[in-house]
Symmetry: C2
Subunit: 136 residues, 2 copies
DNA sequence: TAGTAATTTAGATTCATTCTAATGATCTAA
DNA sequence: TTAGATCATTAGAATGAATCTAAATTACTA
C-alpha cells in the first residue's frame, strides 16, 4: 500500500466516509496532484490515465460529498462547468479568461474596510471574489 | 405606440440592431423597470404574461447580442444559469440561493483595505463579488 | 457471519443553452 | 418603389454538464 492511499483512508475516516476503493482512488488523486483545480471530467481522465475507471455518477457523487464535508471547494468561474478546488483554506481567485486559468488568492490578501448591510432575516453563507485579469 | 416602445427603438438604433418586433418587445420589457435581473426563462415568462410569445432561441440570441453590445451585463452566480442585468454601472451582488434571487450591491458599498498583487504582465479586467446569503 | 445500510454503476433523464436550416422581415441602392 | 441582399426568427434537434434510477455490489455492525 502506498503512502497516499494511507493518507487518503485517514482523510475519509475523519470525514466519516466509507473508504471504498473508488473514494480512496479519488482522494488519492486529489492529494497527489500539484494542480489544485479539477472538473469532474478532468478528474475522471486523470484516474483513467492510472487505469482506474470510475463511473461518472460516482465521480460526481464523491466530488459533491467531499465538498459538502468541506474537503473541496466549488468554484464557478465560467458558465457550464463546475470546478473543484483542493486548496482547503478559504480563498479567492484570479481568473484569466484569455488563458483559461484559475489561480488562488489567499483569504488574508483581501480585507474590507467597508461592507454592505446584509438584508434583514438573512446571513452570509459565503463570499466569492473572482478577480478577472487579462494581459496588459 | 407607447413611450417604452419608442425608447426601445431608439436604444436599438443606437446599438445598430434592427428594430424587429421581438427585439422591441424584449428591450421594452428590460427598460420598464429601473434595474432588472432576468434569466432567459424569466424574461420569456414576463413576455408571455403580456401575451408576447417569443421563441427560446430568439430570447437567447437577443440577450447575448444586447450584452455583447454592452447594454446588458452577464452575471454568473450559480452553475448552469446565466443572469442578465440591466444595471450597467459597476456593482456587485447578493445572491439568495434558497429564493433564487439576485440583488445589487452598489460598488461604493464595498471598499478594500487590502488587495492582492496582480500577476506580472496582467491587469484587472473586473472584480466580481457575490455575497451568498441565506435565511438566519 | 448474517443482515442492513451505504455505495457504485450504466444508462436514462433533466435542464440550460446552442445549433440548424427553413421561413420571414428589414434594409439599401438605383 | 422595388429587387436583391442581408439579417432575424423559429421549431425542433443537438449538446454538454449534472443528476436520477434502480439493480447489483460492497462495507459495516451485532
Amino acid at each position: 500500500m502506498c503512502i497516499d492511499s494511507k493518507k487518503a483512508k485517514e482523510i475519509l475516516k475523519n470525514l466519516k466516509l466509507r473508504p471504498t476503493i473508488q473514494r480512496i482512488a479519488i482522494t488519492e488523486t486529489l492529494i497527489k496532484q500539484k494542480e489544485i483545480h479539477v472538473t469532474a471530467y478532468l478528474l475522471k481522465r486523470m484516474l483513467a490515465e492510472n487505469k482506474v475507471f470510475i463511473s461518472r455518477a460516482t465521480i460526481y457523487n464523491n466530488l459533491n460529498e467531499l465538498s459538502n464535508k468541506g474537503f473541496l471547494k466549488k468554484v464557478l468561474v465560467k458558465k457550464g462547468k463546475m470546478w473543484f478546488d483542493t486548496n482547503l483554506s478559504k480563498h479567492h481567485h484570479f481568473y484569466d479568461e484569455e488563458e483559461e486559468t484559475l489561480a488562488d488568492v489567499a483569504e488574508k490578501e483581501i480585507k474590507f474596510s467597508k461592507f454592505p448591510k446584509i438584508p434583514n432575516g438573512k446571513r452570509i453563507k459565503s463570499v466569492d471574489i473572482v478577480i478577472n485579469i487579462k494581459k496588459i
